[in-house]
């Protein structure tokens, strides 16, 4: 390994910030918020890493990227070396550098964070990937000799792409099946352009194809082909189909025009590019007063999308308080900066609409207060009787999670499902009860994050490789 560097005695370098678009400008456009490091900034930030002998950051990474090693390469100015190091463990670095919750993973473990700010590992990973994509030579990581084994990956979201990337490098013949017309799953339909440009998702998928993987879009496994039919042609099937069915609030008035699930709202805007209507054919209600219900990352994405679609007021209505928001701190901060208005401790009771036009006109909510902690450890919101109030809105986005999609599971005999309809799989290997079938990501855990789905993909790909090469 490279030289052992003690904590620098020279002038202390502060954590380098990524330049970003000012909030009052970016709230009106769909371009990416942070612009990324320049090579100078990246090398300066890389100097802050003290190259621990027993790096804690790696333990915090679900796919175990060799973090100090790639940072050392950036410090030396060997950007190609850095991306090669990352590729050994991660096929989607441009995505991870942007959407991973680093503050609770690698950066949360970084020793520098004890006294100072942690090394900006996410920003550096993003830099290495962007540098390679924009300026790098046409290189690929080394690949094992072909094994002759065939693997079908169902779903091209983060877990599926991780499994595909891992197994292609190990010499297996991998085909990824995607139901939509573009690959990427939630990376393409869910996460907005301003947080993850679609060109980057396309480029990461193209990278897998250059490695020799095949991606078949417009393939709805469970309908166009069943899992049992895939098993006739493939040695192994991996199911990474995501969660699916959106959950609604189950309150009166959800049929009014202007009420969306977050999945629909984001799919229209991201996948179908409805923000560019009528240049693109798919429309979306461009509300002036938009309320998003929920407090996770998807809610932040929806509320910020609403601003960019021209909303004068974009509210987030959440039944607990700011402290309980499940979204990443950085996302909440970005939303606040851009002018998203938070209505905490508020629970929706019913939507109001104009019966003649069918359009949404408002929502009636009830004030809440925090009571005793519930099973999740968070203080439970309790209604305050008589505290009803109305908010005038023309668009509502419901971002309170997703249930399991029955389309694939119902057509696949032999899979064990839990009471929520998710696939039961061994948490260490991703093996399901059905022989030669593995599963991971949201269809196993319920709605979670990109990197957790990738971590599940990594465990499954290790297990699949063992099965294909050693037979168990």
């Amino acid at each position: 390994m490279s030289e052992e560097v003690k904590a620098p005695k020279k002038e202390k370098i502060p954590r380098q910030k990524m330049p970003e678009q000012p909030a009052n400008v970016r709230r009106h456009n769909f371009e990416e918020v942070p612009n990324g490091y320049t090579p100078e900034l990246a090398m300066k930030e890389a100097e802050r890493c003290i190259q621990c002998k027993d790096p804690r950051c790696r333990q915090g990474c679900p796919v175990e990227v060799e973090i100090p090693a790639f940072i050392a390469k950036i410090k030396e100015g060997d950007f190609e070396g850095a991306i090669r190091k990352i590729w050994e463990k991660n096929a989607l670095p441009a995505v991870c550098g942007r959407v991973c919750p680093q503050e609770v993973q690698c950066e949360g473990m970084c020793i520098m964070g004890k006294k100072d700010a942690p090394v900006a590992i996410g920003n550096l990973e993003r830099f290495a990937a962007d540098q390679q994509r924009k300026h790098g030579r046409d290189i690929l990581p080394p690949k094992a000799a072909p094994t002759g084994k065939k693997v079908a990956v169902v779903g091209s979201g983060p877990s599926g792409l991780t499994v595909a990337g891992d197994l292609i490098l190990k010499g297996h013949d991998v085909t990824v099946f995607e139901a939509l017309h573009l690959p990427g799953g939630v990376l393409i339909y869910g996460i907005p352009e301003f947080r993850l440009p679609k060109e980057i998702v396309a480029s990461e998928c193209h990278y897998l194809e250059r490695l020799g993987g095949k991606i078949e879009v417009n393939s709805v496994i469970g309908r166009s082909e069943t899992v049992d039919e895939l098993l006739e042609h493939f040695d192994v099937v991996y199911l990474g189909v995501g969660a699916g069915l959106p959950v609604f609030l189950k309150i009166p008035g959800e049929h009014f025009i202007g009420v969306y699930s977050a999945n629909e709202y984001l799919t229209r805007s991201n996948l179908m590019k409805a923000y560019d209507f009528p240049n693109y054919d798919t429309p979306i209600v461009k509300g002036k007063n938009v309320a998003t219900f929920g407090g996770g990352n998807v809610a932040m994405d929806s509320a910020r999308t609403a601003l960019r679609l021209g909303a004068e007021h974009s509210y987030i209505i959440y039944r607990r308080s700011r402290d309980e928001l499940p979204a990443r701190g950085a996302e909440v901060h970005h939303a606040e900066e851009e002018g998203v208005e938070f209505l905490f401790l508020s629970n929706p009771l019913r939507f109001l609409g104009d019966d003649a036009t069918g359009r949404l006109t408002g929502v009636e909510c009830l004030k809440m207060e925090l009571g005793e902690p519930d099973a999740s450890g968070r203080r439970r919101p309790v209604p305050i009787p008589g505290s009803e109030f109305q908010v005038k809105i023309d668009t509502a986005v419901i971002a309170i999670g997703a249930g399991s999609n029955p389309l694939l599971t119902k057509s696949t005999p032999g899979l064990d499902l839990n009471k929520w309809g998710y696939i039961v799989a061994d948490p260490k290997t991703g093996k399901t009860m059905k022989p030669r079938v593995w599963a991971g990501g949201d269809i196993v855990t319920g709605s979670a994050t990109v990197i957790l789905a990738m971590g599940a993909g990594r465990l499954a790909s290790n297990s699949i490789h063992d099965y294909l090469t050693m037979g168990w």
Binding site: H181, R223, G242, K250, I257, G358
Partner: protein
Amino acid sequence: MFEIVERQEMAQGTIISNWIKAPKIAAKAKPGQFVILRANDKGERIPLTMADSDPAKGLINIIYMVVGKSTALFKTLQVGQFYQDVIGPLGQPTHLDKVGKVICVGGGTGIAVMHPIARGLKQAGNFVYSVIGSRSKDLLIMEERMKAASDELMICTDDGTYGHHGFVTDKLRETLEKHKDIALAVCIGPVPMMKFCCKVTKEFGVKTLVSLNPIMVDGTGMCGCCRVKIGGQMKFACVDGPEFDGHQVDWDELNLRLRSYLVEEKVSYDQFKAGHGSGKCSCGS
């Protein structure tokens, strides 16, 4: 890319039939199921229930009415040209059980959707009465194919230019009165037609299937756009349907949600017509 191998204009060019090369879909397609089509990179995802399929030749048949920008764009596609995306088969297939006597009612392009269902019910050993209707004779489609798929075919036109002068509900009522042993009705067409057919069959206590056409985006159960209320419960037409018990459907809600984008649809269609007429558009025709 999915090639159009046969194309026919029907009903004075207002309704188009395409046979599309899609072997994987054709191998699996069953009556009552739909596909989602997209003409090009900027296109909408449009759900259409299949009118027929030919697994041996690897073809599927869609029949659609030109009602807006997307279907107008579809209409420009000629034999040898391609749909960028065709996805399917989607939705639950019709249960084609033998129940005895059935009546199949189709209106407008609903006749195309009805056709494979009527044929399937006949093949399953049922006696099939069919009623098909349109505004006038020129707009009636698939008379011959429906005749072959039925044991008895009745035709209605709103203006009396062909067959019975009146709505399909007239013939539906007459037939149900005459044949008390009809065990099942299948009604497919515009929302008002299905709604009124269901009123009639309810009077006679005859179980009725309808095929719903709400707006969809992904069509695979992910977005919830196609939610409909069935017996007071929220269902997704793309994975739970598109067929439902007609007596349980909240028709007013469906009708309301179908009007979600009337303004945008007009903007889009007007722009298309202006561009297409002036030769500035890039649709290639």
